[in-house]
Symmetry: C2
Subunit: 892 residues, 2 copies
Amino acid sequence: MAAKYVYFFGNGNAEGDASMKNLLGGKGANLAEMTSIGLPVPPGFTISTDVCTYYYANDNSYPGSLQAEVAANLKRVEELMGRTFGDPANPLLVSVRSGARASMPGMMDTILNLGLNDTTVKGIIAQSGDERFAYDAYRRFVQMYSDVVMGMDKHVLEHLLEQKKEMKGVHLDTELTATDWKELVGAFKEAIKAELGQEFPENPHDQLWGAIGAVFGSWMNQRAITYRKLNNIPADWGTAVNVQSMVFGNMGDDCATGVAFTRDPSTGDNYFYGEYLVNAQGEDVVAGIRTPQPINLHQKKPGDLPAMEEVLTDCYAQLANIRTILEKHYKDMQDIEFTIEKGKLYMLQTRNGKRTAKAAIKIAVDMVKEGLIDEKTAVLRVAPSQLDQLLHPSLDPKAEKKVIAKGLPASPGAASGEVVFTADEAEAEAKVGKRVILVRIETSPEDIHGMHAARGILTARGGMTSHAAVVARGMGKCCVAGCGDIKVDYKSESFVARNGQLVKKGDVITLDGSTGEVMLGEVPTVSPEMTGDFATLMGWVDQNRRLKVRTNADTPHDSKVARQFGAEGIGLCRTEHMFFEADRIAAVREMILSEDLEGRQKALAKILPMQKGDFIGIFREMKGLPVTIRLLDPPLHEFLPQEEKDIEALAKTMGVSPQQLKHKVEFLHEFNPMLGHRGCRLGLTFPEIYDMQVQAIMEAACELVKNEGFTIVPEIMIPLIATVAELKVLRANAVRVCDEVIARYGVQVEYLIGTMIELPRAALTADEIAREAEFFSFGTNDLTQTTFGLSRDDAGKFLPFYVETGILPEDPFVSLDQSGVGKLVKLACELGRSGRDKIKLGICGEHGGDPASVVFCHEVGLDYVSCSPFRVPIARLAAAHAALGGGTDLTK
Amino acid sequence: MAAKYVYFFGNGNAEGDASMKNLLGGKGANLAEMTSIGLPVPPGFTISTDVCTYYYANDNSYPGSLQAEVAANLKRVEELMGRTFGDPANPLLVSVRSGARASMPGMMDTILNLGLNDTTVKGIIAQSGDERFAYDAYRRFVQMYSDVVMGMDKHVLEHLLEQKKEMKGVHLDTELTATDWKELVGAFKEAIKAELGQEFPENPHDQLWGAIGAVFGSWMNQRAITYRKLNNIPADWGTAVNVQSMVFGNMGDDCATGVAFTRDPSTGDNYFYGEYLVNAQGEDVVAGIRTPQPINLHQKKPGDLPAMEEVLTDCYAQLANIRTILEKHYKDMQDIEFTIEKGKLYMLQTRNGKRTAKAAIKIAVDMVKEGLIDEKTAVLRVAPSQLDQLLHPSLDPKAEKKVIAKGLPASPGAASGEVVFTADEAEAEAKVGKRVILVRIETSPEDIHGMHAARGILTARGGMTSHAAVVARGMGKCCVAGCGDIKVDYKSESFVARNGQLVKKGDVITLDGSTGEVMLGEVPTVSPEMTGDFATLMGWVDQNRRLKVRTNADTPHDSKVARQFGAEGIGLCRTEHMFFEADRIAAVREMILSEDLEGRQKALAKILPMQKGDFIGIFREMKGLPVTIRLLDPPLHEFLPQEEKDIEALAKTMGVSPQQLKHKVEFLHEFNPMLGHRGCRLGLTFPEIYDMQVQAIMEAACELVKNEGFTIVPEIMIPLIATVAELKVLRANAVRVCDEVIARYGVQVEYLIGTMIELPRAALTADEIAREAEFFSFGTNDLTQTTFGLSRDDAGKFLPFYVETGILPEDPFVSLDQSGVGKLVKLACELGRSGRDKIKLGICGEHGGDPASVVFCHEVGLDYVSCSPFRVPIARLAAAHAALGGGTDLTK
């Protein structure tokens, strides 16, 4: 049997189906599927991707049998449509579209109205009874075809059109008449001949083969090649060509076109929702020139034009029936496009409809109740990333708002308050009960207390992973970062927005951290709801995941919030944030400024009871769930001021000379602090610091065990390990302190000692390191920085460019780079298990809250992910997706 | 047959040999080997490491047969020595020593004179005829034994000794009499009983088993365990115990002790070289209290005491014969220790002798001539790291010198000159023919021209891998870095040394970059010789290596020097150093300050002809050898001044406002420049820079091909690639520019495009990257920084501590970290070859000149290493060592 190259669809019969995407391309497979479930799809056929492969393997020629196959299929289309290709009296017009396996920008897209020429245009006039329509369609075809197929400079024809309008003294295309269009068609053809030295093809079959050739040719144009290279799409996949009969929604008042959703995409309510326009083309519905009308009475509001249900009753009934068929077939809410040509309904497209988070949850839960899908499928129907919308307060959609600037949507939620410009002010104002928004050029760890006190944070500089953004997300606090639209002046305590609006200290503004908008005055907000359908769905989620979800939390408050969001432990408790609190930063600085061990120990003795108090608070909130505490990580200079002025002020309060303090600041200065004297390197050179911290952890645990009957297994985590020798020494120190405390209290307390894996060298030697570590926690923020050689703080100058141009598919600080960083994580998991059979594995980088990264964590077999409290539900859902094998995000 | 646990040696017969190190330990195997080749070794026996293993596996007990085996072997020793253990009349004394496979500090070392008690001491008096000698030996034994075996606090006995001297009114041990020592022995024993509640053992057999138990016990003491942990020595290796009969060189004038080398270790000359002392112990020869005498007339100088050849003629003749036997047996120069007891010669030790580089070469070449070794062996006899001594001018060893300070020996060689404090001064003074030493607190890329102009560089700050050190080594220029002994004051143009010496601008100083010494005034130097034996040896070296050796060179001058040292191409030509030269830095800054593409292109057009000129110069020097040129790598802010004052000055000369310039400097500031906007990230965001550089390279090549008939295949190297997508884009850009230039010149020029592998992500995805790269060059400096998460510039605060405490075996910037960074290199080689079959692989980090790293590069199959010109011979030798399978460095 000769190879089959062409696949027909029409009148309920299709030779392909949805599963044949590789052969027919995405579009071709979809058209075949719709046809075969009985939808009224305009008939047509798909030339398979095999032909494309053949075309390039055989010097741009076609298989011998192709011409006959195309002819035979064209004949079937003609028969079904009752029209003939090239027939002057009753011509068939077709569209020609490319359609690859994956949607691919840079390739030829669509040629419409193919088959028109000086004689068939007459037939169209006869069919439509509308000469202007016919010549307008004709000139559009000539423009499109000459550009895409013949390589004509399209500006030449556009210029002719402008000339015509000028001559006629009109401004809009719609003001031109049938005669104008007819004359333009003639002028276009002459210009094409003059420019290209060849006639515009009159023969519809020449037109068709020209268009087919153009689709196959576009597979190898430069833009398509570049796109494939950057996206690793093999050149031998090839594209298919779809030839489909044209239908028109703009041939008169018995014609219409519309789009609809099988349920309300914004609420999820179960009714048929859509819009249509009489006598219009598809693009008119979306273009917004005419106001679309509701399709049914359910939606109709007073003052609306008649609903389709009223004026095209039969077609509406047919469409409503199709709605039911579609939901039964696809078992999901569908987004459809339709056209009515002279009272006959045609379906042009159906696909899973996009929806809000709220709608997604409602539809999923409803469909389980309706018996359409099971619980597992329902879980897969909600995209984890969507949940974020639901977990924060949001602006009341009904409220008015005056947007004065726009920055990056760095941390979702909405908040209003009086503007303050320093962290100290934020704290002071909050203490007297005011709601404040902290506005800074950028934030640093010294601002933490102010960020805590503020309702929202606005910064002029810094990206999605700047300090402000990361900390705010961790706190679940709304943040607009990198808002270049505002110019902050600390001296005058004000900022000016790009639109000239001056905002002074004490003025009220509102931030929307989900859109990046900054508004003047107070805009009302609405609270998130986490009951009802949400709770139902999350119940199913938890029944369907293997991966545990912990949280990153540094305070009893955060721990409590995280518990409410379903956290099953703390994966990362950073001890340094505690160091910044007002009552202890003085002691920390005293320690740093001490020139000898004795001085440092004296200062540490002051910090010990405070740290111990913190740990007691956190252990109590977590009620026996595992808590991983990371020992001091940042370099010491982060605890000292950097500006001359601040140094002088601090020197005064500390009673040291400004020179001495300045000298210390200079001494501690680092060229690359990210790669400097921090983490376990501090623990090795100043062992007394870690000793104090371990003592605080174990005393907290022992006291609770002794006095409150808790069960606690503290997990002590040592950061920035590069070699097993570092961990050997630090582990021995920690064990010594732990055992001393346990003996002193005379209780039974177990503890684990483990390490962050956040440097490539640690990942590469994880087998050795595992012999000294009872657990690993992947610090993928730093691991990404070192693996890429990329500083988060400095990437702003080129990382956005990388993501825009596709050099990187995504910001690797947002979604784990699986092929690079992920390879190291995978290797470290394997090596780690080879070094210690049942080593506990987790992740505590920001990626722990990113759905795609969570799926990866599931696949490499981690025991848990840890993320900021507000992302815990997202991670739980993503973990269920991973376990159910469905990682697809419908919103993308 | 019962297991054998004890191995005898003595009188020419030994049950072990040199190959049995695992069973007998290093010391035991060596004693056996010496014995079996007929040397007069004091007889004894070795208890094998198996016993140690048994001891710990069986609750600190010995195999049942051990006691009998020890007794039998002791009997053989007694028979050979004609003395009996514990015999009051003619007692045998023994030493007991530990001896593991690897030498291990922290374990019990030695107990001498074992077998002495109140009765046997009489026998020793009879044997020696010297009561004082006998009681001195006895009290030493009691002190040593009670400390090491019984756990006595040694200060108690030392205190008794002090009391005795005080009482007698003397200062030196030598002033005490036989009676004094005898009384002290009694007092010691009483103190031991009082302190420990047990008698000092009188029975020699009890003493022996006590000592054996102490050796095995010391295997598991805390220091030994820690040492093994840090050095990854398995606990089950165990230690052996060596029991050997004592011989004494201090029993009278027919006794002596000495050390000798079979050839002169400093010149390599072929004569017997050594020193001895009559009536002395081994430690007296090295202690320096008495002046040792030459062993033969060849060495004897007027005024010397009689040579051994004159006074102990027979023994000397016997020793000279042993010298011949040893060189024939070991086929290498030996370092020996001997003792003569009552006219009888005993050999205590022989080992390969340490020697200077000069001696190593001479001995190797001579031994080939003498037929003792072949050429391959000769090559292995010279340690690559030693060669460094020979490749630079050095201080005349006969000259007087006044050392005023000491810093790090950052770049070898010696140089004198007038002190200057700025790079501009250095250049100006050098231009008028003065020899200058550039003294800076630390250097930066802006000082390059001054470093070039100076004869030597002295910095107050910075380590072995500081900018000054790295650049100076690259230039082969002498440098003393991080000299904390001096305090530089730029304002007064002077520095003060720690000893108070003031050195002003214009004063002459001399630097010794091999020792780190800074001297006042001019000290004469001598030039390196690279002919004669050196040339002979290097000829053999080149016949015996696979790995090519290229150089890192940025100028025609460096290229020429490197060729003289045998470089076979340039592995790294850094284009940015060219940017700093005075005539082009202005254009570079103009480019950086341009706000648009047009401005940048205008500035680049000025740089183009200069870069092209550089490349022409380099290509000419390299005469067709491969040249790899790296496109711009450092961040742009490195080309701008940072200090307020300098910014203002530059603004003036550039005719821009200081504000504008300051703003740009601030805008370009980076938190972690190492991980910032540099390398290919610049090439992607400012493609015009790389386009200009590629154009300059290809125009240079095309002109030489066209006008001078050269064969050149330029290798264009793109730095800091993290993902293949970056390389795809940049490769396409480079190919476009190359092909355009080639077409314009109308010549045939091939070229390669490749990349640095200097980020972990590049190594991990090397298969993908290889598809776009014709070569890889491992940039192991940056790869070490990112793999360890360790900034070279900031490591000074903890890296020295790491190396001192053994957390890191070596500075990973000096010698490649094979188990971490090396693992990535290995992986990248394998992946790279899987992506492109015959991909060219090289290394261009500083490690390319480190012998151990070169061996590693050979083993993973690189095609070449590239290092600074002055290290090329070292790398050639190391490459030969690697190919010959001998990576041992005799100097370590």
